[in-house]
Symmetry: C3
Subunit: 477 residues, 3 copies
């Protein structure tokens, strides 16, 4: 925990300051802290591990691609371009990584109280061993320290993968991806450790500009004409099978709502044709997406892929920002979510089917005790994913456990899922989740709800066994 | 608290582990813990106390009828039939109570962190004096221990009633119930202690299959033709009067939404006729239910029954599960709730009327600080019921007090209402509520918001005086 | 903190009882407690300071005008008239202030756990130095004590203003107000310390009875005909300019929803004409209000006024109470809020504009982590106001910080905004906010998220620098 540089993080961080609870949390965390990392849903590029090249400069590693950090600095007046985010419109962006790094260090205080602050401290102090926290005064020194570290062989992606104790890492991949990086990794014996996840979102939103053009990729990848609903579904089915053959355990669906309701076949065909003709309205597109989600569940029974659903975000909220910087630039904003009515047709059909599993995520905490925990607490197919995105924070994880456990217990949750694009943040995120779970369990012990040995067993299950089980491929029917 | 068997629960359970708060909680709890139990809303069968026969086997007592337990075990892969729940379709269900009990014990860990775990521990250790917690290893031993206990005279229903310190127990009864068990109990001098509650739900949802057939029961009970809206309302009025005469203090209404808005008379008649003709759609049925709730409030002014409203649950969510196992099988799921607009017509009419009282429950915590506390904090007719169903948990009760007290104080809540079907769980539920209230009040004292004597007085009010007052029959106008 | 009378408040009140956190909270609070008060949004009458006359009797000062207190006593059976609230219908109200005061003291327990209890204790003990808390037994003694204090020169409004350490106080003023009290105060050198706020609500709700009649005031004040949309907008523009010239920093908008979407010009003109003709329905009125909010944002770019939005309350919920007692009588009830979709057009247009600032308030806590923090965490124009109205409580402020900081950090919030009508409660409210922020920051330090010096700096920023910055006039474009 300490290192020669002298920057040491609090070994009890994230634990309650109540003495009895802190002591219990230490004992519970001791049971889970060194377990291998099961990372079943993330956005790391498989090519990073295939190429195994040194990470770039500090800004490229920690600032430019991290939309959590970028958005907070933007909220305080920086432009994304000043933080090095590439403009699509040909306008200038900052290209000097040291300038970007300085701006980041100068804005360090804006991150106080946020999870980004926590993750970055863990990375800077524990992964990279820097000598102290960012500030205007330390910016250049830290830049140099970090640059030097990144050049060392021990900091190559595969070396970090081993050092982080990652047992398995799932990437997220476009449905049309040839998965060639995964194939090459498999050739090198990494096929069990780096697996793809089937993500069809680019093909499911008929109202999006470019949807029709994108179909060409799907058509080429699946080698089947997608000019009809049947062809389209067949293409998706083939790609799912290809993903499953490449080791995928799950599909991932980023819908605007949780609607999962089948349409009459003729209506679905009509909407698909309207989409091809560029004549579909948002309500029709939403209905089609709900139909497709239902169809995907049906395909899960065939190929055994676990279904992940991430609904409720209005993407690319600021059209001008989207035009300038593209997607994933920090301008996605959540909406109120609804699961009870939206999922009913799907759960009627598959909610008690032993060959189906659905892992639900939300960015609307209201649904925890009202809808998600009651659903997961009765339907054997349903597991609850970890707090997602804006909620993947110390407080967010604690509120999740406190709200969800009452109705769903611990064993209807999928354990921790990190959902990160930032490879170097993976251990920080899993370590924080283990600390928060230890803290929550410590309270339950201190208040007489559980015994210590039960709490320790539960902590191990949450960190290791539950994500493995939740994402285990299901038997085909 | 201890017993010869050696299984002792933590005497400070549910209290905060902050030393100063724990010590205060002990002092506050000491003021309320031994008070008589006021159980104003439950689902115990009056016949249980009339017959006063020994409880059946351990599975029949603690597993099969407890939908909290059944649903959690179902969520982990058991079928209700394997847990002894009778199938309506003639299919087989487990009939060996020892097998059911073993399955329950093997799944004990799935209950970790849930209120069922807490209540069951209290029952097993403190009510029945078993020697230790359930597990695969202890299942048979505990089965035998519990079977032996249940055969003792001290564990007959009336003996437990006395031992539990129950002052008054309200049951929930169909509007057409002849209340013969209550009458027989009254003959035996128990009329003040076991009272009925008027529940008209079977007659208020015109869209339900079987609604019209069910009317025959109402007609027979009320001895008035229900072939018109006037007759229907008159039948309800008569049954309310009969309940009031039998000692009822309250009516109870389980609507899908909180809508309480009168229709024009002609429109209401039209909808009733449409219901009789089997030609009503869900929106019309909902409007009629809202009309009826308004009419019920008006009748409250005549007969003095306190109105309880439990809205916001989608019942029988899984049609196949409902077809196989019937209602109350664990497949009810909450919906987002709305009170502000929905209740406005009713509160305009009766919200400041001294002859009306409305006790509101919810399964949507979002409404606590946003709608319920602001409403209860100004309308003298409104009291807030205890956290209900999925929210009747240590964390749920604490969140309720923390969210509601700001706007409504303590004295606009109805104190604790247990809402249980499980007779043997009544002391566990009231004891937990008293502990949580003591804990909450202890924090307020420790943080300088209240004095200890105020906190103790408030704890006594919440446990005893407030439920008595909230459910006191109101003077007829 | 102590005074000769012997009634002393706990110096550690509102801090956590966890020893380590309490000690840290003391150190953090020590950094912020004595800072000047920045009161950027309140409802104190400027004339109070201009006239600088003694406050009236205890009831007139602390009971009759305080709708928090009135509503809680009403909820327990008093009528507003019994509490001295004037009836509009000519019916009798209690006129003896000692009787009103006695009733208030007798109901003191109904305030337990509410913020009113906390604020009043602070006022009675620390501002007015009374000898003990209210009760039936102490009512007359306290009445006499307080009456005597109010007659002293040290308790005149300006003396209290100095003693409270108020650096700047913003009032809220009708758009047609001549601002003559402010002008007179400026003449006396108080122009920098007491500033107006532009509030156009009386003119923006076309569906309201009396809207058209009210326009005459606007017309007279702006000296421009308001018989067309253009004239109406020009009148508002002129009044904004007049407010800005009188020192205003902000406008304030109390809409039913957060909708801010421009209409086609012809449609807006059509709705305005329909309003003049008394032929507008609620949906049209809502659309027009959304149009107007957008126009107000556009005007902000011209005059530099910061925009405050307070949406989501159904005012005058009980028509009969409104008819008898008028507005602000405690009968306003919140509604579910939505910001993401509602604000999108406005944020598309102005959310990244350096000449615009929008401070958002809510009475719906669900929106904290779901919508408000994600919006403030990326749009530079957006700041989050303090927890408002029913949420301006110890628990409410803590939940706000816990939910909002994750995505927005501390520096996208506006610090504390008191929103009070009760002049004597201003120090209590700011002190409580500083205590709660110190408490929250203490937890972050104790749990290893922040260093103590960062926490102290943040506490100072929240209490002083952030409200100054958030309400700084923006440069005109």
């Amino acid at each position: 925990m300490t290192d020669s540089s002298g920057w040491t993080l609090d070994p009890d961080r994230a634990f309650s300051a109540i003495p009895a609870e802190r002591e219990l949390a230490r004992q519970i965390y001791a049971a889970s802290r060194a377990l291998p990392i099961i990372s079943m849903h993330g956005h790391v590029d498989a090519g990073l591990l295939l190429r195994n090249q040194p990470f770039g400069d500090p800004a490229e590693l920690l600032v430019v691609p991290d939309h959590y950090v970028v958005r907070l600095l933007v909220s305080q007046g920086a432009t994304p371009a000043q933080l090095g985010v590439t403009r699509r419109d040909g306008g200038p962006s900052e290209t000097d990584p040291r300038q970007i790094w300085r701006r980041f260090c100068a804005g360090w205080k804006y991150l106080r109280g946020t999870p980004s602050r926590y993750w970055l401290e863990h990375e800077l102090a524990e992964v990279f061993g820097l000598s102290g926290p960012p500030s205007t005064a330390t910016a250049d020194r830290l830049y140099d320290e970090l640059s030097a570290v990144l050049a060392q062989p021990g900091y190559l992606p595969r070396a970090l993968f081993e050092r982080f104790g990652i047992e398995i890492l799932a990437t997220t991949d476009d449905a049309a991806s040839p998965l060639s990086d995964h194939a090459a990794l498999a050739q090198e014996g990494w096929g069990e450790r780096v697996i793809p996840t089937f993500r069809p979102d680019r093909y499911t939103r008929l109202e999006r500009p470019g949807w029709k053009a994108g179909l060409a990729d799907l058509e080429a990848a699946a080698d089947v004409a997608v000019d009809s609903l049947d062809g389209f579904l067949e293409a998706l089915r083939r790609r799912r099978m290809a993903f499953a053959a490449a080791g995928a355990r799950a599909s991932d669906h980023g819908h605007r709502s949780a609607l999962a309701a089948p349409l009459e076949r003729a209506e679905a065909e009509r909407l698909f044709a309207a989409g091809l003709a560029g004549q579909i309205n948002p309500a029709q597109a939403e209905a089609f997406a709900g139909h497709l989600l239902f169809e995907m569940a049906r395909m899960s029974l065939e190929d055994g892929l676990v279904m992940q659903l991430h609904p409720g975000v209005l993407r690319d909220y600021d059209p001008a920002a989207h035009a300038t910087y593209g997607p994933d630039a920090g301008f996605d904003i959540p909406l109120a979510a609804e699961f009870t009515r939206s999922l009913r047709p799907l759960l009627e059909a598959f909610g008690r089917h032993p060959g189906f599993r659905l892992i639900l995520f939300t960015v609307d905490e209201d649904t925890y005790s009202r809808e998600l925990a009651p659903l997961a607490g009765v339907f054997p197919a349903v597991r609850l994913g970890a707090p997602w995105w804006f909620l993947d924070t110390p407080g967010g994880m604690l509120r999740f456990r406190e709200s969800v456990t009452d109705s769903a217990g611990f064993y209807n949750t999928a354990g921790f899922v990190d959902d990160t694009r930032a490879f170097a943040s993976i251990p920080a995120r899993h370590d924080l989740a283990r600390r928060i779970d230890a803290r929550h369990l410590a309270r339950l012990v201190a208040e007489g709800y559980l015994n210590l040995d039960e709490a320790q067993e539960t902590a191990v299950d949450l960190a290791y066994h539950l994500p493995r089980q939740a994402y285990a491929r299901l038997d085909r029917v």
